[in-house]
Amino acid sequence: MPSKRHRHSLLLVLVLAGVRFDANVHAQTSPRSFVLVVNRNNPVETVTAAQLRNMVFAAQTKWASGRRATVVLLDSGSIERRLFAWACCRLSPAEFDKALLQSVFVGETVGGPKVVSSATAVKKFVFNVPGAIGVIDAADVDDTVRAITLDGHRPGDAGYLLVHK
């Protein structure tokens, strides 16, 4: 039978562990919003999921302005890519990658979307390529790029798909 002092210590440890556990749960369940970003000179305000799908699979190669549309994504395994795959195509990441490779195989595209390794690289690419569109964490948006809406929805709107819960 533990002494009273030991029982208090044990209780304190459990309470602290509980607080930490709660903090972790909060960190894991706190939704993170992601946004589509385009070049600051691109006048577009919103795109539809179908437009994203068509851009990825080369059924839409240009913006209304005539600029060549180029999708830039983070590499496989990233949250951004997973959300993008579901938002545009209702596909899991593995199925999305498979569909991309298949689009190369059937001759629709040559190399698929541009792939980079960080949000900074996405912003840099979008900044340098007038027709580029990418997806990054809303917290990473700065004045080098411009955030646009997806199907007219902004982060926080009901039905907004680029949210990691």
Partner: protein
């Protein structure tokens, strides 16, 4: 028991070699070679697809077989010109290797409404033939539906052709309409190589037109129709007209897959005698984690041996696909077919990879 143990050990060895090899492979979508692009040079993107099978059916020895080794390359030659080549190395029933140039296309990407390609291509008959080519890793099932079997596997459709292929979008809003038009050499005469890659044995050219819809509100859904016609010499001086009408509805949306197609093939000789045969299949699959069980039922009533060797075939197939990673999968499939009145079963295992 010992023999069975040896077989499975061998299969495991193959799997281990394949998985080990491709787990070291670079990701399928690496960054473009920026230095080459900056220099204005075309970058050749290469992919390799392949499969190894193990099959068992009554009356034949259980056999390992090397499937197709598919060497695939594309390049953006210029902003509007795309190059695509697909070469397949495969063994035939006599254990001899064949090398086939399955596709060679130079495509001019004029705009969203018009892309024109010249070379050897897969005819846009139905859905399966253009969605799934020679890399078996892409398709859920072990095998293609009988009606879409390749010509050198006894297939009944002209799945390849040499000529001009054009396609593009149709301004149609949320209907997502697209068109395809193709004209080529068409069929060769009976007994000859079915795909006339270098010389057309007759004056007639084949043509094929297709219309598809990918409605924007339904991601992954596609429906379409196609019509193919060719007039060719079955024998010297004896011509026939072949007409193929196809319709399809497919829906591939995580986690399910649904494919359904119906094809009607008709031949008409110079005397006006017309013979037609239908074919159809439905296939459903559902992804559960890394597993994808699937079912297929197909039916093919072939014409009188004019093209290909398949006869009346129908029956169900059931299979399971296990994803080993992003670029390899193991599949197992059980087929129970009624072929010309007799029933037969076949079990096939397959390791398919892509990188």
């Amino acid at each position: 028991m010992r023999l069975r143990s040896v077989r499975f050990t061998a299969l495991h060895s193959v799997i281990i070699v394949v998985v080990t090899t491709f787990s070291l492979a670079p990701p399928a979508f690496a960054q473009h070679d920026e230095e080459h692009e900056a220099a204005g040079a075309a970058v050749l993107n290469t992919h390799v697809f392949g499969n190894v099978d193990l099959s068992r059916q009554p009356g034949e020895h259980t056999s390992f077989s090397l499937g197709q080794l598919d060497l695939f390359a594309t390049a953006q030659v210029s902003e509007r010109v795309l190059f695509l080549a697909e070469t397949v190395i495969e063994a035939n029933d006599q254990n001899e290797y064949n090398v086939d140039l399955e596709r060679l296309l130079l495509t001019f990407d004029i705009n969203e409404w018009l892309r024109v390609g010249v070379g050897r291509y897969h005819t846009a008959i139905g859905y399966y033939n253009t969605a799934y080519h020679h890399g078996l890793w892409f398709q859920t099932a072990v095998s293609r539906p009988h009606v879409f079997a390749f010509e050198d596997d006894g297939g009944v459709l002209p799945v390849h052709d040499v000529g001009v292929t054009a396609e593009g979008a149709i301004p149609s809003g949320r209907a997502g309409l697209r068109w395809v038009a193709q004209t080529g050499n068409g069929h060769g005469p009976a007994g000859a190589e079915p795909v006339q890659t270098a010389v057309d044995a007759d004056r007639g050219k084949s043509f094929n037109v297709a219309l598809t819809s990918r409605p924007h509100p339904l991601p992954g859904f596609q429906t379409g129709v196609s019509f193919y016609r060719d007039r060719f010499n079955v024998l010297p001086g004896v011509s026939e007209t072949e007409e193929i009408v196809a319709a399809h509805a497919v829906w591939i949306r995580s986690p399910f897959e649904w494919l359904s197609e119906v094809i009607s093939m008709a031949h008409r000789d110079a005397g006006g005698t017309r013979e037609s045969a239908p074919a159809w299949y439905v296939q459903g699959a559902y992804q559960i984690g890394r597993l994808r069980p699937y079912l297929r039922y197909e039916s093919l009533r072939h014409l009188d041996g004019l093209i290909g060797s398949a006869a009346r075939v129908s029956g169900p197939s059931a299979g399971l696909r296990l994803e080993l990673g992003p670029s390899a999968a193991i599949k197992g499939q059980y087929d129970h077919e009624r072929r010309e009145g007799s029933r037969q079963s076949r079990v096939t295992g397959q390791v398919a990879f892509a990188f």
